[in-house]
Symmetry: none
């Protein structure tokens, strides 16, 4: 998976020479603070129920200040969205997709655990992506589709390889990949509600158990 263009957010990056390095750092940290506060609010109330007033109150800034850092409510949401998407991409990117490198079981174990952990470490971002984002607007939907599409493509290729190497049964790789993605999403959503960190391992094992060996006793 290749990294998408980074989204810098602020309208036009001010040209900062040497002397304003400090200022630029301050600015960036403040931006971060607003993003963090906004994430919390968006994640809790959802996009539409969130007012700019909520955002600036949570960030402790004035109304105009918000627009100093972000173009609009919509823009800050997109920036937030891009972040998690990027984070998940990164967490998957690290996994070795050369199937011969290790048994399928081990490989999937690593990636599933990583993905679940990533979501688990960022419950707000997760809630944002899973609950607030879908259906917001066409642009958001396009981003989500692209994201899941990448994930699916990556998974499908991996499975295809495994299949070619005789490590996997002959299955409908397309549907199976989507199925796995759906299962993971659902488990993530579940852990969001339950907020039990300890279940991460249990969830990982259950997912692998099911998908690798199936429900039936023997064949």
């Amino acid at each position: 998976m290749s990294a998408p263009a980074r989204r810098d957010g602020a309208h036009d990056e001010p040209p900062h020479d040497g002397r304003s390095t400090r200022a630029a750092a301050m600015r960036e940290s403040r931006r971060r603070a607003v993003l963090d506060a906004s994430l919390r609010v968006f994640s809790e109330k959802g996009y539409h129920a969130t007012r700019i007033s909520d955002l600036i109150e949570a960030a402790g800034i004035a109304r105009g200040t918000f627009y100093l850092y972000f173009e609009s409510k919509n823009a800050i949401f997109h920036e937030l969205l891009d972040q998690l998407l990027e984070r998940i991409r990164a967490s998957v990117d690290g996994v070795d997709t050369r199937v011969d490198a290790a048994p399928l079981r081990e490989q999937l174990l690593v990636i599933v655990r990583r993905v679940l952990a990533t979501f688990h470490q960022h419950p707000e971002l997760t809630r944002l992506v899973l609950r607030s984002a879908p259906g917001l607007d066409d642009e958001v939907d396009r981003k989500l589709a692209a994201f899941y599409g990448q994930l699916h493509a990556w998974l499908a290729v991996s499975l295809q390889n495994a299949q070619a190497l005789g490590l996997m049964r002959v299955l409908d790789v397309d549907f199976v990949s989507w199925s796995v993605i759906g299962a993971v999403k659902q488990i993530v959503e579940l852990s969001l509600e339950r907020r039990e960190g300890a279940d991460l391992d249990r969830a990982t094992r259950a997912l692998l158990d099911l998908h690798l060996d199936g429900m039936l006793l023997a064949r």
Copy 2:
């Protein structure tokens, strides 16, 4: 699965004696028409992007008339939501959960096909539930949670039985049930985009194949 309380929508059902039976029928049919039109609009534009103007235009009624039949924009959405939820429930309800009645594979085949078909027959309702509804408001989220909760409980019990009867491996039934639900949701969403009706069988088979026998070759 038990049927939930029916939601009548309109403010207070006027007591209709014999002479107004015809009128009541007219009223009901008109209500239906508005609901149908609204479903189409909601499903296409999403809840927030949909204006009352869109609804009344699609239904061909006047602004005030809308409020004669529905309390509010929110109320009609809830009514629509309840409908699909009820329809899916019904499609699942019919399945015999006594595990000994048939092999697990057959049972799951029937139910998965039914569920997929149900969604497939009502793409608008599906889009509504899958895209517009989540994260809308607490009430909606509660309903969805309850719905999926029921589904999960039903599935978990079935699997538990199968397990007890030695028809199924020992798996974490809780997680596995959620995983299956997630997979199905994802496949449904997929078919929503692709709009290929013929794939229903292929999807069903792929889902069962994966979940019953797993990915690995042999054990």
Copy 3:
């Protein structure tokens, strides 16, 4: 001078069948009332100092009602502007430009008196055109330029004819026409301040006296 396309203002003319003739009339009269009230406010405070609040207060309507009739503050202003421009055009249109029809003096007398009277009858519209409109935005400036351009063209042609017929000295018709227009505008503006209606005749005579016979005694 040809009449320009009428500007109907309201977003999309609602289709009114026979039964809603009364309603349409009501609507139109209400529109008029809002236009009149707005004209008063605009004329007194100028475009920018006028708030929508001022407009709706003057018209005695609610905020939303305003937007039922007009798209925006800018739109109602344009509609008002078009009105006076049209009215002046009409007042000039009636004048016979065939120079041989009457002596130049008589012709100019009629038209100048008409123009002055038109402005004088509508002091608010006049103030709007003369004070608020110029420099408002490009569209307004274009309209004003077009308007004065028509006026100038009409005048220039008339003078050209007069010249060809030997009724007028050989003068730079282009500049002279603009000069006359400027003089009239200034006199109109003057009468706006003085608010003396009786001076209309005196002003007309002074203008003609000056422009026809010049300042010098004899030649």
Copy 4:
């Protein structure tokens, strides 16, 4: 015509002793630079469409710096306005109003040419006065009224004298003076659009031709 009170603009002139003379000069030159840049912007975009951001960008200074030199957006505009008004006043002031000094024709030739040239040399200031200023606020309108009033008074007195000396026909001096002012304004505005410098003489001659000898052939 007497010079009006000078408007210094900046809050309170700091008392500058000998040692700060250099600094004061710097300050003054910077002030000038900001004024010049602002004039350009105001003249192009108009008062309301001009943002402080435009001003400081054009002047190459920081936001806060602007307020070190000028009290407000309104204040700098007024200062700019006063300048042209003063400049025109000065260009007229030099003309000898003792009518017996020269024939009316010669006198008017000089002054009209001067006035036109003054405007022509400063198109931005001209656009400001003619397009942006009128109707801006009461204070501006008062200044413009005062300015034109002075011009009118000066012209009226001159004509009165000429009349008394038998150099001019008996005309309504009040209206005639306003008429001349209006004509000149219009011609100036015209040359602003056309931007043809060479026409200055032609315009001057046309104006005099018309006003001195009138349109008619002979009397």
